[in-house]
Symmetry: C2
Subunit: 125 residues, 2 copies
Amino acid sequence: MVVVRDARHPDPDEMTLTEVMAALSDPIRVGLVRLLSDGQERGWGVLRAPVSKSTLSHHLRVLRDAGLTRTRQEGTRCYVVLRREDLQARFSGLLEAVLAAADSEDVGSQVGLALDDAATPGPPN
Amino acid sequence: MVVVRDARHPDPDEMTLTEVMAALSDPIRVGLVRLLSDGQERGWGVLRAPVSKSTLSHHLRVLRDAGLTRTRQEGTRCYVVLRREDLQARFSGLLEAVLAAADSEDVGSQVGLALDDAATPGPPN
DNA sequence: TCCTTTGTTCGATGTTCGTGAAACATCGAA
DNA sequence: TTCGATGTTTCACGAACATCGAACAAAGGA
């Protein structure tokens, strides 16, 4: 997956509001953001969503391009983390408001973690 | 414009986060929201955007369907107002965060008011 | 009654989006 | 080097979207 090397991670000042809003207009992507909202870095592999591998990859790309998440590659695996601080710096209060609304509405509840290592805190030992 | 009679104005609890986010993922619609953010009711006719009449009508419909604005008809004219309280009730803090971000980025600056009665405060006397 | 004003709705068109299957690229292990 | 695991990219497709011009509908005025 050569892509991660090309991974575009916009700086806070390169993020655009409309791109972020568009990224958050899909339930699956909102679900992914909710999943990552605890600040924990998650392995790509533990993410579970009712879509194919390629579609999930697409959604993660949209989130990354918008600046919502950061993807890190380690060996053959990828890890995703929410860019809370950067988002706060650029769009103060937006993420919190979205997360609160998403929780109250339970948006993207179809998205979850693999039952086994559901707590995968990051890179394996 | 018989349409206003069919106008769908969702209750706060009928609004969905993803629909609101989608509505705010277009610069012109964000511009319209910014224009209405002072709480003033504006006449359809004073709204200026670099799109055709039908496209503007479409954008206003998207905003209305998402619950962001309320449209009122008076005689042959229409008036639009931002539903700040309802949005606050349903998505606490979201609108404020979006408006702040939109201002700092100057999203939708192409949207404006007619030069003449730019301050049309509502129904004409 | 006829005409003007004001928006809405109806095609039509080109673009973007969400989706999956399949091919591909990269890394680590055998 | 060969193989398996892990994601990414390409391709294709239907649906949704942004856009416009034209037709339409409702309310007021001449």
